[in-house]
Every structure is written in structure tokens, then in C-alpha cells.
Symmetry: C3
Subunit: 468 residues, 3 copies
């Protein structure tokens, strides 16, 4: 079935008419992608390939295989590679058939909507994916992917992406980014400094990561001070490579300054593999303030993603590793946790701190009041499970009246799935225009304001907040 | 006033038209009632009577008398029996008049909607209940209830109930169920194994319940192992009597394995009346995992209802006993609490665990992500206070995008009030069809998908999940 | 742009038509203002002035300047007075221009909607406020404010306010209230007893407040018992001055009875400046029960506002003082915290306790079930950040089905900004009528019921609950 031209627009004809007008004015704006997880190596050469339909769409997407797994389909049968190299399904056509057999599971999910859009607008497939059509659709996609205009660079240009930010470990030497620059290709792909693996002392493999950080920074890390210097060195490098932002993940937004002696002691214990769970919490809380301090000095916009209990399913973790769709949100508290950071930097004129939550109860209760007060704070768009049509509506409903639109930052697609990027922005733009249209027809704002707000949602807010 | 034929359908004509079509296709499907509290003794003989309008509708329904009590009407004046036998109002006509005087309090409540439906479609009363009409309506209902086609069995058939599951203590000998079977009547009424009163060692009367469990199981319970054997014996019995599920209530979903020595020690303290509050929490958390283990072996579907602080009003508890409308929800945490159980059984192919919550903040944050990942998990419908039109809409809005429809289980009426069953299913079916119609008109799914999803919501999901 | 005549009404024509009818029937009802922060001294003489547009609208309104501050505009440049007397911007025209330059920040916020209404209906300004129009609008407002029919008393009458309750410290001698009464003016302005500054022993300046309480009560406070006597004396005085209610703020709704010795010991420590943080928590929890006891005796309706972490921004607090838009909500728990108070007074026939929350997750989970059971409890309207169109819709959606309309108390404008009062009531009345219209067109209640419910929402519920 072809895509519904008015999808996501309210049934009411008056609202729909205004939504359509607002949308038509922003649908063609370039895409600003300030936060995501696309692999930059896709863009190092013009001839890079996206692989097979299975390896492009199913195998790397934990949104897809978590749902199949939840209905009893093994990850092995979907070709997810194991940690120990035990072979799993290798035939992409069988994987795709299994996916097609169960695509009905995605009815009403954002994954279903994104994929339907991607199949139709990227690959020209308007047939419905099911058991019977699966292999026919496979062949159609595979044929397209072989063509040069489906190389990542060609798609980047076709997608009208103005800037795409990746997410990169603090120890990353950004070779793909260097190669892109060296190639002369004009696509703007920027790194983002993500230091969790060296900043969170309970991160798996932390000790080895520190050695790696010493190596790439050229600063031998033997204590906390040298650790901070190494981080600062990497930030200089990332900034030189075009980075405009950092990104930080933590279980909670706890922040708190440690005294110098205590910081050194914890770091020393960590170096010797003797740090406790409490040490890790205290250290992360301290480092978030330090990262705010560094951002206030070097101008890198700071992002904070909190509230996900990672790798909830230990059997899956052992067999398949991290990021296997088994990260589950927890309750989150911002008002008290962020206070120490805000006490120091809440009104700093050089700092921007963008907050992301998986706990929607914090939208109206904590985040909107905080962002509607502190100059450094901005609210990121609905994240992860909430990056969906209903999730966006809850965000508009619960955030905007108190925070105001101008304390938000537009959209992040936050995806690993490069060809799904247009689908995700399209959903956001439609949802925003529909929300704005409702305000017009209900007299909450003027239509001229709505037109400006639509452009802000689709383009300006992200570009400004991320200093792109 | 007669029932509005399009009640619960959105005002938008396009959506309403589709909702009506979807509804008409499912309105006549048989009712699957996999969880509820109807008294099976109603069905042991063809001539059982429903009593008076007051004893049928007002006195047993804590949804009704809690609201009247909240406005200063005493439970005594409503004929609620006291624990110590102090007499309360005995005249059903006076009780009914008092109810009619205050029926305006139920405007916009699900109780009000259910009762309006029940009065019109079961008893043929389309007059509005108020002070003036109360006794006239009383007489009309009473006259009908005296007729043979208002006997419970006749209503069961008229209601088109395909299967009705009751909720029964682990110590119950299921005599009513046996009598129903022995009678040759074909109505399918099945027991459900609810062992809280013997599993939660802080349950009032626990020690006596254990004696009773010894007696009915034929296994003398002198330690933890014999306790487990007795439970297993009861499960065999319940299964032989047709049970397809168990049900477990706890204040929180805390789970955690205890070692054998610790389990025995706690159980022994409990037998001697020396168990602490912590013992009770630990033991319940251990037994939930044990119950999952048993279900993974015998195939009984496991239900878990958590988050209600029971008997919040001690004065009412002392005078009238349990279940007097004074159970108040608390915040609930699933992500960490369920982890130990899921670590062991999260992907067990024989187990289904259906979760119910009174804390709607867990829908999008915890439950939908969990159910959208773990193979054993399914989400029960909106429960108790949230079994309402708005409650259902919040559930559809917050659960479906992440969990997917196929990790939910359709509807439970969960009622003691037998004649309200059709009203409750009708509200669910209308709410589901209205939600599905919105998706069609907004292009979120196709109309052919919506038709299937409507049948799934109304019938298939419950039947499949409960293995009926 | 002139105000949209159908603002806040749903786009659907059928719903809008009914909403309009319901609204027209209640739009002219007198305003009941049972809780707010208007300065009573405005009304002591007929010739009182409202000052300049800046001092009337911008400088005292933390809703406005928090948003400007959040976008980097200093409070100094807005003329907010400092604690130490450092001069700040003194030219009201420059302040107003800055406000106009940034008025776009308030798009979609309740502040924006209130101000637009106020400008048009109070001051006759229908031009949109922006950089270019700012000074023109300033002059227009200033000219009007100089006229006698813009004196506060004249506006009070024009606004059709039936009763306006202020909020007054327990130590207040209510001289403005006395002057209003002595003046012979018939406007009904009543005090409300707010004892936080003497009841919460961690309140800044508590010791001095106690001395003041001794002074005004004529009872030397040297221990807990004399403290209680002094409070009772003040309540008698407030009641004699027309008060119908008390108001209590606390960080959490924790309640708990202390024994007499413990109460005396804590109070004694507080008198000597030796009370701990725990002492303060315990004492507040005890005093809430004592306040309930006093209200059950003197009939003053008790209000409880909880969940705001006050003065979150210490830099702002030091420079500008309290109530500077830096109060941030926290998670709140009612079910367990209120139990001790409810155990004693939950069914007391003389007491009404009205609860307010900033944590909307408690609406459906805790507050509606509590208010739908306990006779003393009523739910206040959406408070502070949630006093907005969407906030009201969430309240109607999440509260009414379980609590029932008749366990709620209509509207509070809760404002310091006197000329914004009609705007706030208008928004509530529109939101309520739109919600009620939806119920009519969806068959959830009858149109005759909706008409009564609209009047109840707009007028009766507040008047009854506050015993006005």
C-alpha cells in the first residue's frame, strides 16, 4: 500500500489542512543530524556498499530484533553474530523471509512506520511486507543496493543531509573522519566526543581503555590529573576535527564535586582494579561537572543521556554482547541530581547542556521547569523508545507550555540505520506540524507564528543549539 | 436517556465511521473472561438467584460504595455487613434510594458508564437513575430478576460468554466448580490458582491457611520443602479442574532467589509466628521465582498484580473487613525488581508471565520495553482504577508503540459484578476500535490491518495468551 | 491579532458547537478566587495605583522573568530589585521593550495566553506584542492605568469577583484587611491563614518569626504548648477577620504524630537553634496533623501544597531573594505519607483537606483513588506549572474518572498578578467546557449533565469546598 499522504495529521479537516500547509513548507529543508550512531566508514570511499537487505536493515537494528526476540524468534535465526563466533544464520534471504513472516508484529510501532517509509521512498517498494512478498521485496531492494546511486555518499546527498554528527569514543583516532576530509568529498560529517568508556570507571574494559587513552593522547595516565589532561587533549583533537559537541551517558544524572584528594584516591583505586560501586557513582557524578567545566571553556555543547539500565538480559549479553535490545529504562530524578552542576554552571554564558530522558514523568515535573529557568539547559527531543508519533505528542504536550519551544533543540534521529534517517525526520516534521496546526485552529497561537515555529522545529533549533 | 449508539467514538466523522465499522464486526464475538472474581456458586444450579437490586449492584461493589463513602455516606446506611455483626441498613429499597440520590456522583466514571449500560441492556431500564426514578427502577429490576431468564446460567448464555475464569484460593476445594461440572451444564467456568494467602507469610491468618493447605493437599507442611510439595499438589488439582492460569498479588514486583538454608529458616520462623517484615518481603520475592519455575513446568500461565497498598483505612478495615474500597496504589518499579526472575526464566519457552500495574508511569518507561524484549512477558490490560475509557486510551498510547500489540493480552473484566461483564467488554471493544480507527484515518496502519487488530483485541489475544 | 473567539475549543465542529454553548452559559458567572497571592493593600483606598506596565506585569511575575532568564536575559536588566540594594534597570520603558523583544519566547505558554487576554480585554490592546509594537503598547497601557476605572477596586468590580482570598502569614495583623473592612467598600476580600514561616522550623528566619508570633498573639512562646496556643489564637483572629481556610506548604506530604515529649524536645532544640534536618521533617509532619486537628475544630478548610524544591538556584537566591522562578518540582508520594493523618482524621465530618501536587503522576495513581475514598479529601486544580491548557486536560483526563468531579474543587487562580485573574478563570472555564463538550458528543454523559457540571466547575465547586 502506498504511504498515506496525510499520515500523522489529525482527522479533523481544518487541522489537517493547516498541518499539510505547514509541512509542505518544511518538508524540503535540509536535514540537521546533530546526534546519531551512523558508522563514518560508510563515507570514506564513493564505492562503499550497504551490504544485503538483511545486513542493512535487520541484523544491526536492535529495535527490530528485540521485537522478534520478544515473540520467541531466536537471534541466531536472524543472523546476529555471537561473541564466541558460534555460527548463526548466514543466508540473508532466510533472515529476510523470517522478518517478513513477522512484520505484522510492528503494526503501529515507529519501527514499522520508518521501515514502510524507507522501503517506499528509498527503495521504491510500495508493496506490503509479509510472508508472501518477502523474497520479492528482498530482490527488489538488493537490486537497487547494487546500483551506484545507492552508495552511502549518493544517499547522503539524495537525503539532503546538511550535517551528520557521529558518536565516537574518546580514544577514537577518527580515521574515517580523516579519510572523509582527505577525500575531498564535501559531505559534512562531524565527530562527537563520547568519553563514557574512560570516564565511567565501572565501564567494561575501563583499564584497557585508559591505556589506549594514554597511547592516543600521548599523555601517560598515572593519576587523576594526567587523566584530565589526556581528556583535554582529546577534546582539542576532536574540536580540530570539527566536533561541536560531547555526549555523556550515565545511569542517573547524579552530579557532585569531589575534593581533590578524594578524586585522586578513587582514580587510583580504579587504576588498581579496586574501585567500589560507590566509587564509580561518585566519580561519574564528579566527572559530569568536570565535563561541564571543560565545555564552558572549549565551547563543545554537552549532551547527557541518562536512565537506561544497560544489558538487562545477561544470557543475551554473554552470547551476543552489548546493545542487543535489552536496555530497559528506570525512574530518573533530575531536580536534586543536577543541582551541584547547576550551582556551579547553571548560568554560565559559554555552556549549553542538552538533557535526554527515558522517564517521561520528568518532562513536565522536572525538565521543563529546569529548562524554563536555567540559561545553560536545553531539552533534547524524545529519545529512543519515545522517538515515536505518540512519544512526540506527549513531549509537545508536556514540555512546551513550561519550557517554551525555544528551550528545546528540535530533532535528533539518533540512529545506526543510515537509510532510516529521512523517515525519522519526516515523522518528526509531520508530528510537529500537526501539533502546530492544532494550536492554530484552537487559537493558541497565530498562523504566522506557527510557520516560524515549524521551521524552528524542523531546522533552526537543532542548528543553533548544536552550534552547527 | 437511551445509550448513545456511537459512545466512545471520536467526534470526527471520518474516524467515527471507521470506528463504527470496526466495532460492528467485533461486537458480537463471544466474551473471553480470563481473569475475574465472579462467585462460581452462582452457576451450580439452574435456579440460583441474584438477590435484590441492592445486594446485586450496590452492596458487593467497592467501586460504588467507595465513591458514596467519599462524599460522607456511611457504609452502614448502604447495608455493608460489619465484621462483628452489628446490624446495618437491611431494607434494599432504602439502600437503592440512597444510591439513586447520589448517582450523579458517578458522572464520567466507568462505574457510571457500566451501570448505565447494564441497566439498559440487561434490565431494559433506559430511564436515568436519580432521586425520583430510583424506586421505580428498583421495582423494574427486581421484577426482572425474579424471572428464570435472569438466573445466572441464563445470563451467562445470553451474555455469550465463551469462558469465565474465577479466582480461587490455593486451599479451595473447588466444590462449586465440581458441582458445575457434575451438573452437565455446558457453561465453561474455570478456576484460577491464587496462592497469596499461603505464599505471603504476612497474609492475615497465614498460619491457619497453612494448616488448611496441609489438610486439603494431604501433605503435612512442616518445612519449606513440604510446603512446596503441597503447592505443587494443589496446582495438579487445579489443572485437573481446568485451570489454565495462576494469579499472584504482591505489594511490589520484587523478586530474588534465596538459598535453601535461608528459605527454610524464614519458613520455619513463619511457622512459629516469628517472621519479620523483611522475611515476608524476601520470601514473597523468592516464591515469585518458584512460581515461575512451577509454571514453566506445568504450563499454567502466571499473572502478577502489583502495586496496591491494601486496606489503607484501618477504621474501615476493623469495622467492615478487607476489600472495602480502601486500597490505594503506590509507585512501582519493575526494571530492577523483576530482573532476578527474568535472569532465570526470561526466555523460557514454556512460560508466559502477564504483568498488571496500577502505576501508569511504568507503561512506557518499563513495561513496554520489557515486554518488547523478553519472550515470556505479556502486558495485561489497564487494571482497576485504570479500567476506564481514558485509562484504555492512555494504555494504547503509551504501551503499543514500544511493546507492540502482540505482546499484550486483550481484555480482562476482573469483576465481582457478574451482570456488569458485558458492559466492561463493550467499553473495551469500543475504545479499541476507536483507537484503531484513529490509526487508519491518520495513516498509521492499513484498514485491513485494523480489522485484524480489532478481532485480536476483542477476542484472539486473550484466548491465546491464557491458552484457552 | 484579536483573540480567537473559539480559543481552546476542539477543532471538531460538533464538539466546538457544544463547547461554545456550555461556555456562554458560564462565562458571565462571578469569579470565586479561593486561593491566591494578590496584595490586599491594593484595595485599602479607592485611589490605589497599579504602577507602570513594567512594575505591574513584568517585575513581580516570576512566570515571566524565569523564561527571559532561561534565555540569557539578566534579572538586572528586567529591573528585579536586589537584596543588597544594588541598583538594577529603573526605566520601565526599557524593561518593557526588552520584554517585547522576547515575547515570542512565550508562544504556546500559559503566560503568553494570559497576557494576550489581559492586554486585549483589560487594556484594549489587540496588537501583537513584539519589538516594534512594544513602546506603542506601553504607552497605551500606561495611559489606561492612569484612569480611575483602572484602580484596583474598579477592576475588582469590573472583573465580577465575588470573593478574593489572599494568603497571609500567621503573624500578619491583617491591617490591609482591616482597612478594607473599615473603608465601607463592599468588595469581599478574605485572609487565609498560612503558618509555614512559624510551623516549619527550618524556615529562614524562623526564630524571629516565633518572637513575632509571641508579640502578635500576646502569648509568650516558650515551649511547644504555648506555641500551639499562639497558633490557635491566630486562627481565632483570622476567622474573625473572615478567613475560611488555611494553607500549608511542605516539601513532601509526610505526616506523622510525635509523642508529647519528643515534640517538646524538638521545639526546644529549634528555639535554641539546635534543630537538625530530621527534626524539621518530623516536626512539619507532626504539625500537619495538628493543623488537621485544629481545622476539625474551627472549621477552617485546610489546603496542602507540596512538592516544590524552593530556591533551587543559590546564586539567584543570594542576589534577589526567594520566589525568583527557581522553584523546581520533585517526585511526590501521598499514599504512605498521608496515611497517619488520614488514620486519625480521614472520615472526620468537620474537616476538608484540599491537596495540590506538582507531580502529575500522582493524579491517577494516588490522588484520585485517595479522594475517591476518604470523606475529608478534595483535589485542588492543576497547580503552578500545570495551570495551563494542556495541564488542565491532563487533570480532567487523569483525575475525573476515579475521583469523580464532586471530589474536586473547581479552580484557583493562585496569582500575584491581579489583572491576570480574569484571563486565568477564562482559560479554566474554556478548558472545562471543551472537556465536557467532548463527553457529550462521545456519549459519555448527557448534555443536561454537562450543563450542570460546567456551572459546578466554573463556580459551585470552589464556593462549596471553601465554604464561601
Amino acid at each position: 500500500m502506498p504511504l498515506h499522504p496525510d499520515r500523522c495529521f489529525d482527522p479533523d479537516p481544518a487541522q489537517r489542512q493547516i498541518a499539510r500547509q505547514l509541512y509542505q513548507a518544511v518538508a524540503g529543508l535540509p536535514l540537521i543530524c546533530p546526534h546519531g550512531h551512523v558508522d563514518p566508514s560508510l563515507f570514506t570511499t564513493p564505492s562503499a556498499s550497504l551490504g544485503t537487505p538483511a545486513s542493512l536493515i535487520v541484523i544491526p537494528d536492535h529495535y527490530i530484533f528485540r521485537m522478534l526476540y520478544s515473540q520467541g524468534i531466536s537471534l541466531e535465526s536472524l543472523g546476529i553474530p555471537t561473541q564466541d563466533g558460534t555460527p548463526t544464520e548466514a543466508d540473508p534471504r532466510r533472515i529476510w523471509q523470517l522478518f517478513g513472516d513477522h512484520f505484522y508484529l510492528f503494526r503501529g510501532t515507529p519501527t514499522g512506520m520508518w521501515l514502510t517509509y524507507e522501503l517506499e521512498t528509498v527503495f521504491g517498494v510500495s508493496e506490503k511486507l509479509d510472508s508472501r512478498s518477502a523474497l520479492r521485496i528482498y530482490d527488489q531492494i538488493a537490486a537497487q543496493m547494487a546500483a551506484p546511486d545507492f552508495a552511502p555518499r549518493a544517499l547522503f546527498e539524495r537525503f539532503n543531509i546538511e550535517v551528520l554528527c557521529t558518536t565516537d569514543a574518546a580514544t577514537d583516532t577518527l580515521e574515517s573522519h580523516q579519510a572523509i576530509r582527505a577525500s575531498g568529498w564535501q559531505g559534512r560529517i562531524l565527530p562527537t566526543f563520547r568519553p563514557d568508556a574512560v570516564v565511567n570507571i565501572d565501564f567494561p574494559g575501563w583499564r584497557a581503555n585508559i591505556d589506549r587513552l594514554s597511547e592516543v593522547s600521548g599523555i601517560t595516565i598515572h593519576n587523576y590529573l594526567s587523566f584530565v589532561r589526556a581528556l583535554e587533549q582529546r577534546r582539542v583533537f576532536f574540536k580540530a576535527m570539527g566536533a561541536s559537541a560531547t555526549d555523556h551517558a550515565a545511569l542517573t544524572p547524579y552530579t557532585g564535586r569531589l575534593g581533590h584528594a578524594e578524586t585522586e584516591a578513587i582514580f587510583n583505586r580504579a587504576l588498581h582494579g579496586e574501585a567500589s560501586t560507590d566509587d564509580a557513582i561518585l566519580f561519574t557524578g564528579h566527572m559530569l561537572i568536570e565535563m561541564a567545566r571543560m565545555s564552558s571553556e572549549d565551547g563543545l555543547v554537552m549532551q547527557l543521556h541518562v536512565g537506561s539500565l544497560r544489558n538487562h538480559n545477561p544470557q543475551l549479553g554473554t552470547r551476543f554482547g552489548r546493545d542487543m535490545g535489552a536496555d530497559i529504562p528506570i525512574q530518573t530524578e533530575f531536580t536534586r541530581n543536577l543541582k551541584p552542576l547547576l550551582d556551579e554552571f547553571g548560568a554560565n554564558p559559554h555552556l549549553t547542556l542538552i538533557l535526554f530522558t527515558l522517564d517521561e514523568t520528568t518532562y513536565a515535573r522536572e525538565l521543563a521547569p529546569l529548562a524554563g529557568h536555567y540559561p545553560i539547559l536545553r531539552l533534547g527531543p524524545p529519545w529512543w523508545f519515545h522517538d515515536s508519533f505518540n512519544g512526540m505528542n506527549r513531549y509537545f504536550d508536556q514540555v512546551m507550555e513550561t519550557a517554551g519551544l525555544y528551550n528545546t533543540v528540535g530533532f535528533n534521529d539518533d540512529t545506526r540505520a543510515f537509510p532510516s534517517i529521512p523517515a525519522r525526520h519526516d515523522l518528526w516534521r509531520r508530528a510537529a506540524c500537526n501539533w502546530l496546526a492544532r494550536g492554530v485552529v484552537m487559537g493558541l497561537w497565530e498562523d504566522s507564528d506557527a510557520a516560524e515555529m515549524a521551521t524552528d522545529c524542523a531546522y533552526n533549533l537543532a542548528k543553533r543549539a548544536y552550534r552547527l
